[in-house]
Symmetry: C2
């Protein structure tokens, strides 16, 4: 490891959130921190990129010194523009969080916090997403910040090729109730979707997403179960889209495998 590593800190709750403050303070023990984060709350934005309009960058000072840059875009935008435009050197580590709300199982797909870490990973940088399992913004993020430090330190000092990111979830319980760390697979939890229909003051209908989260798993080596049991979970995450086990089956369909055009000319 270099003497002083460069760390990019971001999130999806916005640059003014308590979680990013706690995270940047914890990371400052490990290296030089620069914060590049959305200028406002960006929850459930998933892997959004801003391509149809330009981005604005605003310098953010705190106590007389540079805290970082606020971007009017998504978490993915922040990491991309930080790496490719704002920072003088490629960072040695990207850490995204501390998100308020777990990012386990299928939630990984919708998570701006994980999307930011994914951009770090795609740029070949060790990257970590860290989330606290509570949507209550008043919940203390200091324990999660301590785990972020411990995990980040080990990750940058390992010789692992960063072709995956570390997705970390921390139970929202007092420090002394945390049982330790568990390396876990993503669980098979899913959302049982419902949309509440309501009427606005003018009698017009509107619909609000109101899903219920279901966890059929009971294996302690899966993220939701380990998290509920009191463990900090670490899941190595990557995106390998192809479902290889059906490639041959699909190729065997006559309609999908022809030497020339399949439709009438």
């Amino acid at each position: 490891m270099k003497d002083k590593i460069k760390i990019l800190v971001t999130n999806d709750d916005g640059i003014d959130s308590p979680g990013i403050k706690a995270l940047s303070q914890a990371m400052a023990k490990l290296g030089d921190v620069i914060v590049v984060a959305p200028d406002r709350q960006q929850s459930a934005v998933g892997h959004t990129l801003t391509v149809a309009r330009p981005l604005r960058v605003t310098k953010v000072m705190r106590n007389g010194s540079l805290f970082g840059y606020a971007i009017d875009g998504s978490p993915s935008d922040c990491v991309k523009i930080a790496i490719h435009r704002l920072l003088p050197d490629k960072p040695d580590l990207v850490v995204s969080g501390i998100n308020h709300g777990r990012n386990t199982a299928i939630n990984i797909l919708y998570s701006g916090t994980v999307a930011a870490a994914t951009e770090g990973m795609l740029a070949g940088i060790p990257s970590i997403a860290i989330s606290l399992a509570s949507h209550d913004l008043s919940q203390d993020t200091s324990v999660a910040a301590e785990y972020a430090y411990l995990i980040a330190k080990k990750f940058v000092n390992s010789n692992l090729t960063p072709n995956f990111l570390l997705n970390v979830n921390v139970p929202s319980v007092p420090k002394e109730h945390i049982l330790g760390i568990k390396v876990a697979k993503h669980s098979s939890s899913y959302w049982e979707d419902t949309y509440e229909m309501r009427e606005d003051p003018f009698g017009r209908k509107y619909y609000w997403f109101a899903g219920e989260y279901c966890t059929p798993d009971d294996r302690l080596d899966t993220d939701d179960v380990a998290l509920e049991s009191g463990y900090v979970t670490i899941t190595p995450v990557h995106f390998d889209f192809t479902k290889y086990d059906v490639l041959d089956k699909l190729s065997s369909f006559e309609e999908f495998n022809s030497a020339e055009s399949n439709i009438d000319r």
Copy 2:
């Protein structure tokens, strides 16, 4: 197959795009079509969900009869609210497109078109995303629509468990130049990111994403290569986040594997 299947058609270019019109007409040969799509262009929104505000639903009539519903949300929102609120029965097929612009390789991550099909897949419904390899909105979508019909017909009549979606990309060339269909893996193409810095009329800086798409692959069994060669590509896509081959390695780290809390109390 049932006599008359129910087909949900959506997209990310908006309900007024030419692509969704061509797609819904092609799908009408296969079953009863209902369109539920964003009320405006939603490119590169990825897997965004709208949770912080309600959704509005507007009935859209065309030539005196119901064409579908416009939603002020993302492609994912459209499929979720259609399945769980708007439609009387679960559809037998979800088809998303025809997108203007390829959705191959890593672009799958950023694609609203694929995100919509993903929601169909997550609901256990055979789902297809279909894209034309041209950003030019005036490009003809009729050939892509014909392939959508052919592929959809085969997919709903197959006995495959729909725990993946079919991601289809069509070359933007005249019908007679298409070489046929190729079942292909996602390629390893990537974006070489750049952000152009410009000045607005008031002398303030702004940044615009201007990446270059790089395709190092040369194997014809990968989507970008097959597409460039003139094939319609079909890639079975799923999301299996865990990078299993590093689970053991991570578990072997003393810091990541402890019976009790790893941080000082």
